[in-house]
Structures are given as C-alpha cells and as structure tokens.
C-alpha cells in the first residue's frame, strides 16, 4: 500500500484537548446527544413511561395508535408504547457496540502491534494475509451466515460482526506503528535494551491511541446501522427485545400509513449516529489526528 506523508503525533495535554473539543459547536451537540443517550440507557426503567412494554406484554386494544400525549411515539402493532421501547433500546444499542468494538479492539490492537513492530517477520506476513482475507469478507454476509448457522440472536450476530471488524483496527494500528517505529524516541528505547512489549505498550500505544479512539467513536454508528440491516434481512434481535434496528425493520411494513412504528425508533438511530459522529469528528479535530 502506498503511503502519504507521515504526520507527527504528540500526546497533547488533556486540558487543551478538552478546550478545543468545546470550541466547535457541532462537537458540543455531539457531546450533549451522547450524554443523553447514555443517561437514558442507564436510567431506562425510570425514564420510560411504560417500562413493562419493553418485555413480554401485549395490549391489542390499543394497537397502532398514532402519537398522542399518552403515547408520545405512538404504539406498535401489538399495542406496546414505542417511546418506552425506544428508551430501552438505547441500552441494547450501547451494549452491542461495546461488544463489537470491545472484541475488535482486544483482537485488533495486539495483532496490529505485532505485525507493525516486527514488520518483516513471518508472523507479520501471516497476520497481514489473515487481515486481507477477513477484510474481503463482507461483514453483513458473514453475520448472516453465522447467525443462520448457529442460534439466531442479536448477540450471535454481533460476535460475528466483531470478526469482520478487528482487521480494520489491526490495519490502523499496523500503519501507525510503522510510522512511529523509526521515531528517535522509540529507537532510543530500543537501543537502551528495553523489552519489546514494554516499548510497544509504553512508548508506541499511548501515541496511537487517538486515531483508535476516533475510529471507535465513528464506528459506533456503523455497528448500530449494521444491526438494523441484519434485522431487515430477518436475523436480528428476537422479540420482545426492544432493539432499534428490529423495530425499524419490522415497522417498515406499516409505512406510510402508520409511519410512526418505524420512524420513531429510526429517529433514535438517527440522533444517536449523528451524536457519535459529531463527537468523533470533534475529538479528531481536537486531538489533531487524521485518518
């Protein structure tokens, strides 16, 4: 792969980063949204007007009611309050993204470090090949195949997605390590005879953490949307789990007449994705790192 000019990376004082983060209007909106989503997720049982509707409950007598003061987001085809389900959905969305990104980071970072640090070794060649293979697997296809093969649930799907996600982090880390390896301070540490893993974790990792954070923040939205796609294809979250993607996907049959069934959870996805993107971009600008 051809490379463009390397960028200097410096660890910036935290206060300066935060100040820069708050300077941009969009970043502030992002922070507000993300905080709101996290707040709602944590306090869902207290925030939701009809918390029982997130579990096994049906009220056919009030099915498909349009938004009103009583049901702000309307009700779905079995009469559940969509607002309550959307609020509980925030929990799930955050859980899934934590799982996917968690696995991707845990697998991707070490492999990227190894491949980058010993870039001419056999292990590196092997890792890079495996990365290539996994990068060429479409995540949606793999998740679909794996969920069909095993017990279909959103968790299975998310774990499958993580398997296609780690190579992106591995490649990112690999590239960054390659750039940093020849930096004087790394070479100095090496000539002092420090152990390889200490150099990697103490000197290299802190300097590449920013692009990783930026990517992870931006990836949150892709994971949420991928979940929606899986539900659209019929292998997403199982009922009665209040998953946003599944709600949008199942509600689409009611468009346009009963638009609120899929639009309201869609709005939740929209706002969350926008929030995380603004935040991600903001962090990137503040840290001064670039893809």
């Amino acid at each position: 792969m051809a490379s463009t000019t390397a960028t200097q990376h410096r660890v910036k004082p935290r206060s300066k980063v935060i100040r820069r983060l708050f300077r941009n209007r969009l970043s502030i909106i992002g922070i507000l949204i993300v905080t709101l989503v996290i707040f709602v997720a944590i306090f869902a049982p207290w925030v939701a007007p009809y918390p029982q509707d997130a579990g096994p409950a049906v009220h056919f007598d009030r099915a498909l009611q349009s938004p009103s003061w009583q049901y702000l987001f309307g009700t779905d085809e079995v009469g559940r309050d969509i607002l309550s389900r959307t609020i509980f959905g925030a929990r799930l969305a955050l859980q899934y993204t934590l799982v996917v990104l968690g696995i991707a980071l845990v697998v991707g970072i070490p492999l990227g470090l190894i491949a980058g640090y010993w870039s001419n070794s056999l292990a590196a060649t092997f890792i890079l090949r495996v990365i290539d293979v996994f990068l060429s697997v479409p995540p949606l296809a793999l998740a679909l195949a794996v969920t069909v093969a095993f017990r279909p649930s959103i968790m299975t799907a998310m774990i499958a997605i993580s398997f296609t996600w780690w190579p992106w982090f591995a490649r990112l880390v690999y590239g960054e390590v390659l750039k940093l390896k020849s930096q004087p301070y790394v070479e100095a540490a090496r000539s002092l005879g420090q152990l390889a893993w200490i150099i990697q974790f103490k000197h290299i990792l802190p300097n590449i953490i920013s692009p990783i954070i930026v990517k992870a923040t931006l990836d949150v939205s892709f994971v949420i949307l991928l979940g929606a796609s899986l539900s659209f294809l019929g292998v997403g979250a199982q009922e009665p789990i209040p998953d946003w993607g599944a709600m949008v996907a199942r509600g689409r049959n009611y468009l346009p007449e009963q638009w609120w069934v899929s639009t309201m959870p869609g709005l939740a996805i929209f706002i969350t994705v926008v929030g995380f993107n603004f935040l991600g971009d903001g962090i990137r600008d503040a840290l001064d790192v670039w893809d």
Binding site: A145, F232, R252, G266, V273, V274, D291
Partner: protein, 335 residues
C-alpha cells in the same frame, strides 16, 4: 519494477487471499447444521429421494474431499448445483451479477460526484457555517438505514409524484443482453428508448444506495484535505502569497485525492455489500439479494459462490485503486 510486473505480482498475491476466503466461507457454508437437501425437496420427500440427491451433490463424502471436488469444479467454471433452482450457481448469477454491478457502479459514480466536491467545499471553508451545514447533511446521510430511505423514496418520489418507476430494471423493454448492463446493452443495440428506460429505473435505487456512501466520502474528503492543507509545502506556497483557492485546486487537491482514492476503493466494497438492502426494496434482480436468499435457504453452493465473487470484486477494486495512486502521486513507486 515495471507496472506490468507489479500488476502480475499483485494478482498472484490475490491467490492465497482468495484461497483463505474460500476455505473460510466453504467451512461456514458446510458447517451450517442439518440438512438443506430436505428443504430443497419439500417436506414430504421420502428418505430415498433425499439420499439420492445427497449423493448427487456429493454430500456423503468427507469434507476435505468435498472441498477438493469444489476447487476442481471451480477451475472448470462450475460453482456447483443450487438447491433452489437445481442448476449450476454460475448460470444463476450470470444475469444477476450484471444487475448488481450496474447498480453499484452507478451508485459509486453518484457518491463520488456528490461526496468529493462537498468534502472539498467543506474543507475550504473549514469551521464556517457552510462547513457545519455540509457536515450536518453528510452525517445525516450516513445515519439513516438504507432500506428505510428506499421505501420512503418509493412512496414520495415514485408513487405520490410519479417521477420514477417503483421497482425493477425496465418496463418490459429489456435490451438484448451482451454485457448485462441494461444501459450499455441498450446503447450497443442503438435502442435509445430502452437506454432512457434503464437509466430511469436506475435512478432511485442507485441514489438510495449512494446516499450514505456519498456522505461518508464527503466527510473523509474533508478530513484528508484539511490534513493536506496543514502540510509544510502548502504553507510554503501560502507564504509565497498564492491564494488559498489556487492552492486548493493546483496542489492540495492532487495530494488529497490519493487519500480519497483509498476511500473510493472501500466505498465500492461497502456499496456491493449494502446493495442487498436496496435490491430487496426495489426488486432489483441482483447478486446480493440472491446471496442473502441463498444464506437463508442454506443453499451452500450459492453462498460460497456469491461471497467469493463479492470478495474478488472488493480485492480487485482495491488493486485498481493502488494502481491509480501511481497516476495521481508521482512519489509512489511500484515496489
């Protein structure tokens, strides 16, 4: 090293990657538990029928042998029998591959046409309200599920306003197939009506597919352009008093584009992958929808073939991108 040798080397390097992909997908497709044969033959099929068909498909052999047979068949251009159509998967996907590529390439063009200029514009006016609006719009484009956007476009633009057809690739006037691209085939036949018709049918699905990718491209173009602006030599130019607009077009764009190019390669992959959502909504007879149906029906030969082809398309797109680097950035050496 000459460019041809470089291409050859890259192509050879593809082989182990493809083989790895094949093994991975083959395992997943075959390990799916249970018996897809029964599904193919219907619920009332007798045990004898099932056994006969299993033998025909070679499923009674050990896995490594099945894999060997599959690779041998692949060399001869055979992808194995589909459990749903009872014909070679290759015959099934021949038509649908053209449909998907036509859709994806049109979407890619749209994404580039909308995304790259928007990103450039945003970068030139960094942190202004224009920048904020562009970024807001771009992020909104990423934030909506494609299938949802598609259905709404059908309802508004196609049905209520009647501006576009709701589904399909043509209104019963498909041109004779040569390339599988209806637009190109129509032009080859000199059939202008079919050409316009095909284009007209392409519009909504391609736009739906392109929207998030255009948004993504806009954001990434912005980011890489800003990085280029920060670099030393631009600062030098600026110090010489060359105006920012001129710098942008003459110097920065070229360098920024190399980074954007990588993103276009990735965008192509994302488009093929997400084509399934659009194909289903617009009844577009493409390979992605075929593949998704195949997975749900455990049509294992079809699953392997589709994944392999999409994977190959992705790898080739990246190869082309790498080659284009050389055209745009003289500093890159093929080595």
């Amino acid at each position: 090293m000459s460019i041809w040798l470089y291409i050859l080397r890259r192509l050879i390097e593809l082989v182990p990657t493809l083989l790895g992909l094949l093994i991975l997908i083959f395992l997943i497709a075959r390990v799916m538990p249970g018996d897809p044969v029964k599904l193919a033959l219907g619920p009332e099929a007798t045990q004898a029928q099932v056994e006969t068909f299993r033998t025909q498909l070679g499923l009674d052999q050990p896995l490594w042998k099945q894999f060997g047979n599959y690779v041998v068949g692949l060399m001869q251009g055979e992808f194995g029998v589909s459990l749903r159509t009872f014909q070679d998967v290759g015959d099934d996907i021949r038509d649908s591959l053209g449909a998907t590529l036509e859709l994806v390439i049109t979407a890619l063009i749209l994404a580039i046409l909308f995304g790259v200029p928007a990103g450039l514009f945003s970068a030139l006016h960094r942190d202004s309200w224009i920048d904020n609006v562009t970024r807001g719009v771009a992020i909104s484009g990423v934030a909506l599920p494609r299938f949802w956007v598609g259905i709404l476009l059908q309802i508004w633009l196609a049905s209520m306003l009647g501006l576009f057809p709701i589904i399909g690739r043509d209104s019963g006037i498909a041109p004779e197939a040569t390339t599988g691209f209806y637009t190109i085939d129509a032009l080859l036949n000199g059939n202008l009506r079919a050409f316009v018709n095909a284009l007209w049918h392409l519009a909504l699905p391609a736009f739906t597919l392109a929207l998030p990718s255009a948004a993504q491209l806009a954001r990434l173009t912005r980011a890489s352009m800003i990085e280029v602006f920060r670099q030393q030599y631009i600062l030098v130019h600026r110090a010489y008093g060359i105006g920012p607009q001129r710098i942008a077009w003459r110097y920065a764009l070229r360098n920024g584009l190399t980074a954007v190019l990588t993103l276009i390669g990735l965008t192509f992959g994302a488009l093929i992958e997400n084509a399934v959502l659009v194909e289903v909504v617009f009844s577009w007879p493409g390979i992605s929808a075929y593949g998704a149906d195949a997975v749900l029906a455990k049509d294992f030969n079809a699953v392997v073939a589709v994944t392999l082809i999409i994977g190959l398309a992705f790898l080739l797109a990246n190869l082309i991108v790498d080659l284009l680097y050389g055209v745009l950035d003289p500093r890159v050496r093929y080595g």
